[in-house]
Amino acid sequence: DQQVKQNSPSLSVQEGRISILNCDYTNSMFDYFLWYKKYPAEGPTFLISISSIKDKNEDGRFTVFLNKSAKHLSLHIVPSQPGDSAVYFCAASPFMAGANNLFFGTGTRLTVIP
């Protein structure tokens, strides 16, 4: 049972434009959400996170939005750069801190076209 879903397997955007990656979840116990970025032959690297008490978190070019009522979050990258081309995984957890497991989506491959 896939509790975190990324329905778009791929996304292509022009350099300098906005990239919007979407994620939906089904488990209402999730209260901490993360985005990871993965390059080929490397492990996932943490990008940005948001707790359920917020609806927006921003870090430089990356902003994550959370809509708890819709069980939906999105990652905005502005402006997109060719180096952002990677697979992006959405992940969710029922805890904010401590020993907790992350549930991952299936990933969205972002291609930024120069």
């Binding site: 490397e42 492990g43 996932p44 690297t45 943490f46 995984f89 801190a97 497991n101 992350l102 299936t106």
Partner: protein, 112 residues
């Protein structure tokens, strides 16, 4: 930032053979995870350790997979005997209590 070392990076074996993967969360973090990532899917938890103890191994196929974490530092994941469907990247991750996990580069297993 936590560093997580994994080896080997790549392994090719035939079905029914055995294989072992090693992980060392360099900074000695208390929580260690093994994830399996099959091509085209997201990482899926196999087992979670807190120090030496197992917190969650509900998704570990215990008839063929085993894992241990001696002395609360490094860990090994073993598969015996391997099946074709075990072909995947095995990711080790460390948690430092802030919510996010730090992953190693992974060990890619191909079972022929």
């Amino acid at each position: 930032e936590a560093g997580v070392a994994q080896s080997p990076r790549y392994k090719i074996i035939e079905k029914r053979q055995s294989v072992a993967f090693w992980c060392n969360p360099i900074s000695g973090h208390a929580t260690l995870y093994w994830y399996q990532q099959i091509l085209g899917q997201g990482p899926k938890l196999l087992i979670q350790f807190q120090n030496n103890g197992v917190v969650d191994d509900s998704q570990l196929p215990k008839d063929r997979f085993s894992a241990e974490r001696l002395k609360g530092v490094d860990s090994t994941l073993k598969i015996q005997p391997a099946k074709l469907e075990d072909s995947a990247v095995y990711l080790c991750a460390a948690g430092i209590g802030t919510g996010e996990l730090f992953f190693g580069e992974g060990s890619r297993l191909t079972v022929l």
